[in-house]
C-alpha cells in the first residue's frame, strides 16, 4: 500500500463522521417536525398517519376514507405541503 492509498482510506473514514452538533440538529428537526404534524388539522394529519405510519396501502386508505386512490394521493401531497409550510414557519421562530 502506498502513501496515497493509505490516506484515501482514512479520508473515507472521516467523511461520514458526524459530531454532537449534527446529532443535536437532527433531534431538533425531529422535534419540530413532530410539532408541525400535531399542528395539522385532523384530516391532513390522519391521511399522513395512515399512509406513513400505519403501513396501509393507498387502496386501503381509499376504502377507509371512501376516496379513490388518485384522490388519496392528491390529499397526501396537499397534507405534505401544509406540513412543509407549518414546519418552515416553526423553523423561523
Amino acid at each position: 500500500m502506498n502513501y496515497q492509498e493509505d490516506m484515501q482510506e482514512w479520508e473515507g473514514k472521516f467523511k461520514d463522521e458526524k459530531g454532537p452538533d449534527h446529532e443535536m440538529n437532527r433531534n431538533q428537526e425531529i422535534d419540530l417536525l413532530n410539532l408541525a404534524l400535531k399542528k395539522l388539522n385532523d384530516d391532513k394529519r390522519e391521511i399522513l398517519v395512515l399512509s406513513k405510519f400505519q403501513e396501509l396501502k393507498y387502496e386501503e386508505i381509499g376504502s377507509i376514507l371512501d376516496l379513490s386512490v388518485a384522490a388519496v394521493k392528491v390529499r397526501v401531497h396537499r397534507a405534505m405541503n401544509k406540513l412543509k409550510t407549518v414546519y418552515q414557519s416553526l423553523e423561523t421562530i
Binding site: 437532527r26 428537526e29 425531529i30 417536525l33 413532530n34 404534524l37 400535531k38 385532523d42 394529519r45 390522519e46 399522513l48 398517519v49 406513513k52 405510519f53 400505519q54 403501513e55 396501509l56 393507498y58 386501503e60 376504502s63 377507509i64 376514507l65 388518485a70 394521493k73 392528491v74 397526501v76 401531497h77 405534505m80 405541503n81 406540513l83 412543509k84 414546519y87
Partner: protein, 264 residues
C-alpha cells in the same frame, strides 16, 4: 405537464412508481421549473425525516372511521363458517389444473353418492371437516399475530372472530395482543373481539385486569364502554387504580368517572 398534474404524481414519484414515460415527463417538468423542483426536494426530505418520528395515535374522528371500516369488513365476512366457502378455499389451488378439476368432480360425485347412502357418514365427514377448518383458522390466526405488519395482526384478530368457540390458546393470544401489541389499532380490535367473548370468565377477568395496564386513551375509553355494556362491577377497582395515574388524559378521566358512577 402543468404544476397541478405534477403535484398529483408526487406520491408515485417518491415511491418510484411512475411509469417510464411519466418519469421522463416529470423529470423534464422539474428541470424547467425550479420552484416545483425545490418543492419536490423539500417534500421528499420531510417524507424521509418522518420515518424518525414516533407513531402518532389516531384521533377520535379517525377512530370512528376505523370502526366503520371494520364494521363493513365484518359484514362482508358475516357468512360465518360458510362450509362451501371453506371447502372452496381449501381446493382453490387444485382448480388450476383441468386434470385436477376432473378428479375433483369425480371425487365429489363419489362423495355425493356416498353421502346420499349414508346419513351417519355425512355427519361424521362434516364434523371432521369442521374440525380441520377450525384448526386451519386457528393456525392462520396465531401465525398472523406474529407478523411485523400491523395489518396482518389485525387480520389475525378478524380471523379469531370467525371462530365459533375459541379455545384457551386463542383467548390467551387475544389477551396478550390487547396487553402487549405495539400498535394501538391492533389492540383496539383485540379489545372488541374479546368483548364479544365476555361470557367466558377468563376473557372477562382478562379484560378487567387489562384496564390499568393500558396507556392509550382510545383503548382506555373502549374498555370503559365494554365494562358499561357488561355492567361489570368487578372493574371498579381497576378503574380507580387508573384514575390514580398522573398523566391520564383529561377526557378519559371524565369518562372513567361517569363509568364508575354507572357501575357503582
Amino acid at each position: 405537464m402543468n404544476r397541478e398534474e405534477a403535484s398529483a404524481l408526487w406520491v408515485d414519484y417518491i415511491h418510484n412508481e411512475l411509469g417510464e414515460e411519466k418519469a421522463k415527463e416529470i423529470t423534464a417538468f422539474l428541470e424547467a421549473n425550479p420552484e416545483a423542483r425545490e418543492e419536490f426536494a423539500v417534500l421528499g426530505s420531510l417524507w424521509t425525516k418522518m420515518e424518525d418520528l414516533p407513531v402518532p395515535e389516531p384521533s377520535s374522528q379517525m377512530d370512528l372511521k376505523f370502526q366503520a371500516m371494520l364494521s363493513s369488513y365484518e359484514m362482508a365476512q358475516s357468512k360465518r363458517f360458510d362450509l362451501v366457502a371453506s371447502v372452496k378455499s381449501l381446493l382453490q389451488p387444485m382448480f388450476e389444473s383441468k386434470m385436477a378439476l376432473a378428479s375433483i368432480m369425480l371425487l365429489i360425485g363419489l362423495g355425493v353418492g356416498y353421502i346420499i347412502n349414508s346419513e351417519n357418514a355425512t355427519n361424521k365427514q362434516l364434523t371432521n371437516l369442521n374440525a380441520e377448518v377450525y384448526e386451519m383458522k386457528k393456525m392462520m390466526m396465531l401465525t398472523l399475530l406474529e407478523q411485523p405488519r400491523a395489518m396482518d395482526r389485525m387480520k389475525a384478530v378478524q380471523i379469531s372472530n370467525e371462530i365459533k368457540e375459541p379455545d384457551e390458546k386463542i383467548v390467551d393470544a387475544l389477551l396478550k395482543t390487547l396487553n402487549n401489541d405495539p400498535n394501538v389499532n391492533v389492540r383496539l380490535v383485540a379489545a372488541q373481539s374479546l368483548a364479544g367473548l365476555a361470557d367466558n370468565p377468563i376473557v372477562r377477568s382478562g379484560l378487567i385486569k387489562s384496564i390499568s395496564n393500558q396507556t392509550s386513551p382510545v383503548i382506555q375509553n373502549t374498555l370503559a364502554d365494554i365494562m358499561i355494556s357488561l355492567m361489570e362491577k368487578n372493574a371498579v377497582g381497576e378503574f380507580e387504580k387508573l384514575l390514580q395515574q398522573q398523566n391520564l388524559d383529561t377526557l378519559v378521566k371524565e369518562k372513567i368517572k361517569t363509568t364508575l358512577e354507572t357501575l357503582i
